[in-house]
Symmetry: none
Subunit: 411 residues, 2 copies
């Protein structure tokens, strides 16, 4: 089965609201094993909605329409649907009773324009709306199915789950199910990641592999279609294993994992305590780590040492290092990491110093230059990075690399 989504509303075209209904329907249809190849968005205009419906009916078996069912003059989905079906609009008595009951329940008088919502094309069916006034409409046309739902997200979602899914997908039997898994990578660019697995991507058709570039990370989506959920997962697993073998340490998690969550889990399970000294990231690393519930178990303290004075006073960074090498140097990064570890009486000391920009660059130290250091008992690792982007991007990429340094050390 091939489905198409039509979102109706001038406010969508004007960008006043983001179309979360289309995303919801796309996700649910994928889970139900229905292919979605097209989505259209049109304003509150009958001529254009009629054209959109005709186009959708020419290429899709199921057309899901959201919006345009309300009581006002610019709600034109009923009229457009009747025109496409070549059908007249009739008053649905069940819909009238539903509206009257709704208004009596909320203790308001039903205005005349609300009665508009009770009309439907003669041959179509009314769909109950448990959470609002506008009923939905279900119509059949030349072997195709059209479902119109209200645009208010919670009304649409409830109607879809409670009314549409049982009617259209009840007798699923042995339909195709789509499952996907996201592999999360860091420390490797999108093209490098893809180059490393190009041959695997090429030979794959089911599951497919798609890559997405995020800030300081890459996501690989493995999507498999099969007769059932277990079969789909069984297709994904060997491919995931192959990719993990090829990509090694770059894979930090799957699906809804976060890098800070992965690091937190390792720290907690090993009973280690961390102290953080941040210069250019300005608190972002600490903020991300303390987003994890229970972070007080491993997060001892974070010192945001923007000035040289703070580096000296709070972390005992020697004056000579600051003078000889400057605050953005491997030497100072190391002294900060060792210093915060001692001051915080922690097992691990993590330090970040760099130039987030736009100011602060020198002929030898460009914007984006960042040194990371991780001090543990007796030892200290120092890394140099050069990140691209604006100030906030540099901060984020630096926080990502710092958390990754921790992750790899704890591996």
């Amino acid at each position: 089965m091939r489905a198409e989504i039509i979102s109706v509303g001038t406010e969508l075209l004007l960008g006043e609201i983001v179309d979360t209904n289309a995303a919801f329907l796309g996700r649910r249809l994928a889970e139900l094993g229905v292919d979605v190849y097209h989505r259209q968005t049109v304003g509150d205009n009958q001529v254009r909605l009629v054209a959109a419906l005709q186009l959708a009916l020419s290429r899709s078996d199921l057309v899901l329409v959201s919006g345009g069912l309300g009581p006002t003059m610019d709600d034109i989905t009923r009229e457009a649907l009747a025109e496409v079906l070549g059908d007249r609009l009739v008053l649905d008595e069940a819909a009238v009773r539903h509206l009257e009951a709704y208004f009596s329940r909320i203790g308001r008088a039903m205005t005349d324009n609300n009665r508009r919502q009770a009309y439907r094309p003669d041959g179509a069916d009314f769909i109950a709306n448990r959470r609002g006034t506008a009923p939905g409409i279900l119509a059949r046309y030349q072997g195709r199915t059209i479902v119109c739902m209200p645009g208010v997200p919670r009304e649409l979602e409830t109607m879809f789950e409670e009314e549409v899914v049982p009617r259209l997908f009840a007798s699923t039997g042995d339909k195709r199910v789509i499952k996907s898994r996201m592999l999360l990578l860091t420390g490797l660019g999108e093209s490098a990641a893809e180059a490393a697995i190009a041959d695997i991507i090429k030979e794959q058709t089911n599951p497919t592999i798609a890559s997405y570039a995020g800030l300081g990370e890459v996501r690989l989506r493995l999507t498999a279609a099969a007769a059932g959920a277990e079969e789909a997962l069984a297709l994904i697993e060997p491919l995931e294993a192959r990719l993990r073998e090829r990509l090694g340490d770059a894979v930090y998690g799957v699906d809804s994992d976060t890098l800070e969550g992965v690091v937190a889990e390792k720290l907690i399970s090993r009973g280690l305590v961390l102290a953080v000294a941040e210069s250019c990231t300005g608190g972002l690393v600490s903020h991300r780590l303390t987003n994890i519930p229970g972070s007080s178990a491993f997060f001892r303290q974070g010192l945001i040492v923007y000035s040289n004075e703070a580096k000296k006073e709070l972390l005992d960074v020697p004056d000579e290092l600051l003078e000889e090498y400057g605050a953005v140097s491997p030497q100072v990064a190391e002294a900060m990491a060792r210093g915060v570890r001692l001051v915080g009486d922690a097992d691990l000391g993590l330090a970040i110093t760099g130039i987030a920009g736009p100011g602060g660059a020198t002929p030898t130290k460009p914007v984006g230059l960042v040194y990371l250091a991780l001090a543990s008992d007796g030892d200290c690792i120092v890394e140099k990075h050069t990140f691209s982007g604006q100030r906030e991007e540099v901060k984020y990429r630096a926080s990502q690399a710092a958390l990754n340094l921790l992750r790899l050390h704890l591996q």
Copy 2:
């Protein structure tokens, strides 16, 4: 001029991401006085993208495409565009140099698949991408214009503003122009804000007023339509003045202002130095303040004191206060603010202590309870808040209230 937006990406159809690019482009085109009647979304499929482009060219003067320009094999916008134009793909030397410079700047090797991004249809123009690797493409076809932009939102937004708008909308004539201004409020809920100005909203038709509830803030958008930009702004200004009078101190800025930016400006202009002690916000207040370029001028240091030990050792919070009142108390908040001000040798000391949850609540201290304190020369203000929401929401709302406390003090 009539424009149409095509969003490319299977992840959009699957509902894995919400299409914020289309909303951004819709909003900006409305502001530029360009009508948008259609939007299409297709997956990473060349046949369907070609059909979508042909349909768009049959009914729209300007077609804006987002996505599908990356380095990987499922990025098919270049190929689809060339097919529609009946043009071959050629390597653009400027684009190659741009890519090489980009990779050398970030200190990474450019892989072969990145070179794919430098191809464009022979008769089309390359558009620079200042924030990423994928260049855009500008093509003309039978009196229509097609603009292809990368799907990464920050890359698309920068390219649209800096490259596309100047090329396509430089010489607007006397079309109807829509202008809007966003008033940014904090310290007041959405319904309280709306109740305060309900009569004004009711009588307004041009400009219109729409309110949006954000996390820890409310935004009011004033939108006016007029023959020209100046006329539209002249309609907005008296309304803005009326709203500001009614809402008073709750208005912290307009449009792209941020609360941290407003606070930073006040600190810099008054030459004041700040030190911050964070418990439950875990670095978020410091992170937000250090997002502002030049923050080293006012941000002395930030201490993230999660444990009682850290509060005692770093801030000299007396043991007796911690024992008698607990770490989440007005007394400890005050001691933290006074302590960090002294330790940091700063004009102002800001402290946040609270329970972000999900753990940590006691019978008398619920999740969401937060005390804020602001110490200045001899004086200290303490505020109590109870925030709703999950851990990250409580952290954000607390950071918002702390920055607002600073803002009102600096007023």
